[in-house]
Structure formats: structure tokens, C-alpha cells
Assembly symmetry: C2
Homo-oligomer: 188 residues x 2
């Protein structure tokens, strides 16, 4: 950030009165330009026990497999955003969304939230951001080609829940934080 | 937003290629300036069964009672942010944080996440943003002077859990969205 988005004067870093962090403050109109983490929302969607994955057509991690997910937009709920991303990236129609997991990724200033969901049909129609979309049985998941650690973690949790709580009656909610440079762990 | 924070040229609203929403796009360097929801993180902290509330010393809702909570900052996890806000606003030292509730507030582009937590002592030292901090028994909660609907909802959920699951063994995670103009409901 170099200039004020309100008046175009240069911004400088300083700690505002009553605050304890460096912020970008306008040298002209004195507006404080806060910067905060973004949310990424997505789903673990299933049809007949198989899990919906998309192969990325965009960087980062072009060609790797991911759960349908993307940045939460203004004017929508996390649930609406998760449904929208699943529709946009996989062309999947889903229902019965339930909060499933939250994973902090502080080194990129993101918080990832995943919902569990049921597909209304096995029909898929991958969007521009996906090379393909596919339903995977547990034993076929391409673990060596998963795009992000948050996706890896969410998939592992989901499969564990399938074992210990097949009907998802407990509605377990999972939480973890991913540290920069930490090795991929199989479960939380 | 009027000017580009990278080059100070005027910005205009347009839908970028491959996108489907109006964004602020720089007329000079073509940078797209995305705007996304913010997260608010806080705690339902208890000591000896009583719940920690703070009376706001700032607008909005000056003088009303709230759970300690505030905007998630860059470079911290939601858990760290919730702990920090509880320390800053109430001077409370807490432990054993567990994800408790997520509430979408799309009309202000916010997502509120609350953790349950246990206080390490009953000592309080309210910060600049609080007129006072106080431990409330369930029967004494000032329901008519609660600052925000998200706080009201989180408190109701917490008290219900105390009734149905006194040891919090189920670790129930609550979710709801608050619609603009919807009336305050007692539970989700």
C-alpha cells in the first residue's frame, strides 16, 4: 500500500492513538487503512459416499486436486459462499450444508472454513477454474497431488469421521492452525 | 474507494475477465482491489460458572454489555485473536479455548467466531475499550442491555449447553446467520 484510496495522498505506517499496531495511515486525510485476514469457504461434498474434488486450472498449484473453495465475498454468508464455490468450480448442486472444519493459515492471513454437504445428483460441470471435477472413493484419493494442506487435513478428518461416526450424528467440528513450515500432519 | 492504493490513479467499478462481480479496478495500473468480509473473534469465558462480560466504552453501542471480541488481525490465528481480545478488553487470563460458535452477519460483511474458555483467575483489568468488566451468573445477565445480536445468540447457546451438557462433553459447535432487520431470536 502506497497511497490513500480515499484522497490519493501517500500513506505511512504508524501506530494510531489507542492502538498498538502499525497501520497504514494517510498523510493527508488521516484515514486509517486496516488490513485483516480473508476467509476461504468450501465444501466436502459427497455422492453415494464418494468425495467431490476439483483439479485446479489456475495458479497456485495448477493441476493439483482441491476441495471446491474460494474467497468469501461481501454480502453473502459463509454457507452461501461455500455453496457458490461448489457450484462455480464443480457445477455441483448441493444441500444439507453443515459446518465441518475451520483451519487458520496465519502466514497467508487466511481462515479456511469447510462445510459438509450432500450432492443432489452426480452431475458435474467444472467451471473455468477447474480442469476437471470428479467423485473419489476414499481409497482412490490422490494424496500425493492434493493442492493445499488445509484440503489434506479436511479430507483426513472427513474420512476419520466416516469411520467413527458413519451417520455424522455427532456433527463434530474440527479446528486446527497451520504453522509456516510445519510438516503436513495426517490428523489434527 | 476512489483511488488506487498502488499508483494513486482513479479506480472504477467493472467486472474483470473471468469474474462475475463488480470490483474496484485501477484505471492506470489495472490492479483489482478486492473487498471481502472481516472476521470478529471473541470468547465466552467463565470463572466458577459465571460468564465474563464487558461494558463498551466505544461506539457503536456505548454503555452496552458485550462478550470480549474484536477484529481478527493479520499474522494471528482465530484462537490467538480471541485470547488477545479477552486480555485487552477485560484483562482476563484464559485457557482451554474451544471453538464454540460462528455467526454470519452479511449486511455488515462480518463473520463472528466465538470460543469457549476458562479463566485462570477471577482477576479483571478492563482496557480502554471497556467501561467495566464483570462476571455474571446466568440469572443476572443484562439481556436488555446486550450490545449485539451475535452476543445475545452466543450467550443463549452457551446457557442451553450448560443445561443439556453441563460438562461440555459434546463440544457442540453452533452456527447461524443474522439477516438484516430480522428480530432477535432467543435461540438458533
Amino acid at each position: 500500500m502506497k497511497f490513500c484510496s480515499s484522497c490519493a495522498s501517500p500513506v505511512q505506517q504508524s501506530i494510531p492513538a489507542g492502538d498498538n499496531r502499525l497501520r497504514w495511515v494517510c498523510s493527508g486525510c488521516k484515514t486509517i487503512h486496516y488490513q485483516n485476514p480473508n476467509m476461504v469457504v468450501g465444501t466436502v461434498s459427497t455422492w453415494d459416499g464418494r468425495i467431490l474434488l476439483c483439479r485446479r486450472a489456475i495458479e497456485p498449484r495448477y493441476g493439483f486436486w482441491t476441495l471446491p473453495a474460494g474467497f468469501l465475498e461481501n454480502d453473502e454468508t459463509t454457507e452461501q459462499g461455500a455453496e457458490r464455490e461448489t457450484r462455480e468450480e464443480a457445477g455441483a448442486k448441493i444441500t444439507a450444508l453443515k459446518p465441518f472444519a475451520m483451519i487458520d493459515v496465519p502466514h497467508v492471513n487466511q481462515v479456511h472454513v469447510f462445510y459438509r454437504a450432500e450432492m443432489l445428483s452426480p452431475d458435474l460441470d467444472p467451471g473455468e477454474e477447474s480442469l476437471e471435477a470428479k467423485l473419489y472413493s476414499a481409497q482412490d484419493i490422490p494424496w500425493d497431488h492434493i493442492a493445499f494442506r488445509t484440503v489434506y487435513k479436511a479430507l483426513k478428518w472427513f474420512l476419520e469421521d466416516q469411520q467413527t461416526d458413519p451417520m455424522f450424528e455427532r456433527s463434530t467440528f474440527h479446528y486446527d492452525a497451520i504453522a509456516l513450515g510445519s510438516r503436513q500432519r495426517s490428523t489434527a
